[in-house]
Symmetry: C2
Subunit: 346 residues, 2 copies
Amino acid sequence: MDAVVLEENGSPRLVDRPRPEPGPGEVLVRIDRVGVDGTDREVVGGNHGGTEGAMVLGHEAVGTVADPNGTAFSAGEPVVPTVRRPPGDYNEYFRRGEPDMAPMNATVECGIDGADGFMAEFVAVPSEYLLRLPERLAPAGFLVEPLSITAKALELAEASREPFTWERDRALVLGTGSLGLLTLPVLDERFEEVYCLGRRDRDDPAVELAREIGATYVDSRKTPVDEVPAAHAPMDLVVEATGHAPHAVESVSALAPNGVAALLGVPGDHEASVELGERHRELVVGNRAVIGSVNAGYSHFERAVEWLDSLPPSVVDAFTEHVYPLREFEAALDRDVIKTAVEIGP
Amino acid sequence: MDAVVLEENGSPRLVDRPRPEPGPGEVLVRIDRVGVDGTDREVVGGNHGGTEGAMVLGHEAVGTVADPNGTAFSAGEPVVPTVRRPPGDYNEYFRRGEPDMAPMNATVECGIDGADGFMAEFVAVPSEYLLRLPERLAPAGFLVEPLSITAKALELAEASREPFTWERDRALVLGTGSLGLLTLPVLDERFEEVYCLGRRDRDDPAVELAREIGATYVDSRKTPVDEVPAAHAPMDLVVEATGHAPHAVESVSALAPNGVAALLGVPGDHEASVELGERHRELVVGNRAVIGSVNAGYSHFERAVEWLDSLPPSVVDAFTEHVYPLREFEAALDRDVIKTAVEIGP
């Protein structure tokens, strides 16, 4: 079967691999589409995850059950696989159904770190790591995984504000990549005003989509993160989806009192001089919080399916516009446009 | 009546002031004891809060109802006043019973910022800002306010970890001041192991008390905050109670995966070079969080009364050992020992 693999210190290649044989409790899934995001580009660039030898790329997948193999699934059902697997034996995080809370040494991540991903014609997936998807959502099913990332981050952010009356007036997303853009319609349902900050020109399709979703675009080349309150308004929620390291501290200054910043991006090293005292005071005196969040658990995938079902059709169209055939996987990996994906199924 | 006031740009002085007349809904309280903490010293030093003209000092008080003035209180009842008041008209935060969530421009703080405190023979307190205290707790009643600070911080920290299984193995308190020390017995009830980090010698009474409570002392001159995991163990909770600005970022590195740092101290300006990328990654990939917390609401004061009731008698003794008569208020303000207080009542 066809598969896109990344070899250590190499470029991704389309290769022939044996079709996997599902073991006990595993479902054979025919992969239909695999989304591409910033993490894939980091992995390909050698800046994140990877594995010894060759690894199949791709972690945002939707497929169809090819062989239920005695599990509760049925042939032909659309399914989405989750990303984390135990790194050998089961551990407490997987036993609890909280693989997303496992430290890095207690998990592998399919297509990202230490395990084969989904950019292949077939994969064998333990049934507990598969979600059913309504048929109508299948064409956009590769958006479930990125939406699950937002679902978890929002759950953590909301939980941190639960002890008091949190005013949800304004939310700001840092980043116009696919995760940032996909977070906008979710926040637009939950906040009075939604803002989106990036480094793109105003006629860029990503910026046009952000505006179509209802977000106010902030060009960070003119208005840096910590100047957003003065230029627009202080934010009750900031979602960091770029992995630009200074954003963690700058976000604190973009927050309204009692606001929370959720960090999703994974930055490289970045040393900088910071006025720590002022940031620290803003956190304390303003009851602000900064929450890191990585990956997502089964419940977040389930919420993501609900969210996908409630996205406006025009937004789904924009996110599924750039789907490339498998042989053009390099275009999907290279092209920086709203969202790209690879089509694998027949 | 006697009162200790701070004049703008002056030193605190014992002066004669007219006894307050309680207005409608206000209770006349005879103050018995007022605790002193780092915030008072910051205020006296001109580094925090203050007011135009003269301000009565003191925000950690316990007193006795002298005149219920038609309220539900009874003469002779021990009471503790809360600290925040509306800065004129009532606002939404006070209406909701969440004055601790008010931004600084929507509140004043008795004895700290913009309103007279409690270091006086009598104060008039609106009944809604008074808590009843069991008679047996009255001698240590000035500990309710600092315990309420910990109660709120712990509530926020716990809420932020509520969506998943938070392992509460180890907690670290940064600071051997009165707030840090008072937090130790509370955490000792809730965590397997408790650590306390400071800059005192091992034979200092504060360090001896920390050990008596059951905490492992960490000398920050030998083991900086971010080296605590290597020297001891990673921490599931860090409580920052010094106001040393670099602690906010250093705390992130002291945390175990899924851990949370609660910041309580209010630092001055402090510019420093920081490896932001690594801290950001630790937050994201480790699902860590940093939570700022200031002041406390009525529910936190109520919890603090319960906690005070459950403190070991030897701990209460240590915290009430250094109570000075009012005329020696300067010793209470100056002396850096476990906890000082001023005795005002007859």
